[in-house]
């Protein structure tokens, strides 16, 4: 099915640009064309289809569903919904406050918010097409696991102490209110409305991520064409313990979304970087970004922000170590 993109890249690279086969430049160009065309085609088709299916799922419904749930199952559900519910990162603060003012514990809200950038349909799709289903499954399980455990931890240390006062007050008021929160009416959508939603969604997501694909695949192509095979393996291939925290620290100031980082992951892994180190690097690039942290300052005190930051650092390092330790046995 994907062979058409290889053919297209063959034709453009060797015939149209007449680059000598086997040269580093030709390798990089070929990789770039093949991946960009493949990813664009997949994105357009799949975002539309997925949006069509989930047109009536939105954050309001998730909130109503999570409010009043038992805690234990709440974390799992929240991170599951984080993975499938679409929302723009510019809405994270209103979502945080909306959940909080419905009495949902901070940990459950954060499980939702942390899983959301890590796992989404675009990321899963790219992983499936570039790295295969095993790696995809691993990525999803680890992403949800980090969200769930971080949420549990935040509630265990009573993180709501460090919310800004208006947010803490909204949470306390919601807890005192008796009875069920008022649920919003689920919308019944016609096919026409679903199509409109899916079309808007496709245009919206594509116009946001297309440049990340270029950047990500461009970096991946450069790695692919110019870093000698085995170089990474020789230097970092044994999963030296320090390489994981180093990768996480390197990933934090780099900000990308999942779409940009996955093509880089593909190159890193095929060049021999251990899976754990790669995962740690990529997750920290996607989930921990300074702009988002600064946004969260509008609802929480510095102290909670610092805890959250340290928590993510620690979680991704642990993920890296565990996977590097277990890779030989897989």
């Amino acid at each position: 099915m994907f062979v058409i993109f290889t053919r297209l890249a063959d034709w453009l690279t060797y015939t149209l640009f007449s680059l000598p086969a086997g040269s580093k430049l030709a390798d990089a160009v070929h990789f770039f064309i093949e991946d960009v065309t493949k990813i664009y085609a997949l994105l357009l088709a799949m975002i539309y289809l997925i949006a069509l299916a989930r047109a009536s799922l939105n954050v309001e419904r998730v909130r109503d569903f999570l409010a009043g749930r038992a805690r234990g199952v709440g974390y799992l559900l929240a991170s599951g919904f984080g993975a499938i519910t679409p929302f723009c990162s510019c809405s994270s603060i209103p979502v945080f406050l909306g959940f909080t003012s419905a009495g949902i514990p901070v940990g459950i809200t954060m499980a939702f918010l942390m899983t959301s950038p890590l796992i989404n349909e675009v990321a899963v799709l790219l992983l499936l097409s570039l790295l295969g289903w095993k790696f995809t499954l691993l990525y999803v399980v680890v992403g949800m696991g980090v969200g769930i455990l971080a949420g549990l931890f935040l509630d265990a240390i009573k993180a709501e102490r460090w919310l800004l006062s208006f947010a803490a007050q909204a949470l306390a008021e919601a807890r005192q209110r008796s009875g069920q929160p008022q649920a919003s009416e689920p919308e019944v959508l016609t096919l026409q409305q679903r199509h409109q939603f899916a079309k808007d969604e496709t245009i919206d997501i594509f116009s946001r991520v297309w440049k990340w694909v270029i950047i990500g695949v461009g970096l991946g192509a450069a790695l692919h064409g110019f870093v000698p095979a085995g170089w990474l393996e020789d230097h970092l291939g044994n999963g030296q313990w320090w390489s994981v925290p180093a990768a996480v620290l390197l990933g934090i100031p780099l900000y990308s979304n999942a779409t940009g980082v996955i093509p880089v992951m593909e190159s890193l892994i095929t060049k021999g970087l251990p899976v754990g180190t790669t995962l740690a690097f990529c997750m920290s690039t996607v989930a921990a970004s300074f702009p988002e942290f600064i946004l969260l300052k509008q609802v929480m005190q510095w102290r909670l922000l610092a805890i959250l930051f340290a928590l993510l650092l620690f979680a991704f390092t642990l993920v890296g170590w565990i996977f590097n330790a277990f890779t030989p046995f897989l």
């Binding site: 809405s91 603060i93 209103p94 406050l97 909306g98 208006f166």
Partner: protein, 77 residues
């Protein structure tokens, strides 16, 4: 005069939403005051979780996307 609030953190989508409303209001000759509301606390008070959202005369009419021009025409008429 109608009071129209665009709720949102100030991202590009919110700016575009305000622009569309301004354009439509001018086209229809509707006297409207357009206010950009960026405070998280104020956004929370309208129960809005998806921005940009639009509030007309203190009533929430839209949430979660840049409205289509046709929708704006309907609100303002």
């Amino acid at each position: 005069m109608r009071e129209i609030k665009v709720l949102g953190s100030g991202c590009t989508k919110c700016v575009k939403t305000a622009e569309i409303i301004t354009t439509v209001a001018n086209k229809l000759g509707v006297d409207a005051q357009i206010i950009k509301e960026t405070s998280p606390q104020a956004i929370m008070s309208y129960g809005v979780m998806r921005t940009p959202a639009v509030v007309i005369d203190e009533k929430l009419v839209h949430s979660g996307s840049i409205p289509h021009e046709q929708q704006v025409v309907e609100w303002l008429q």
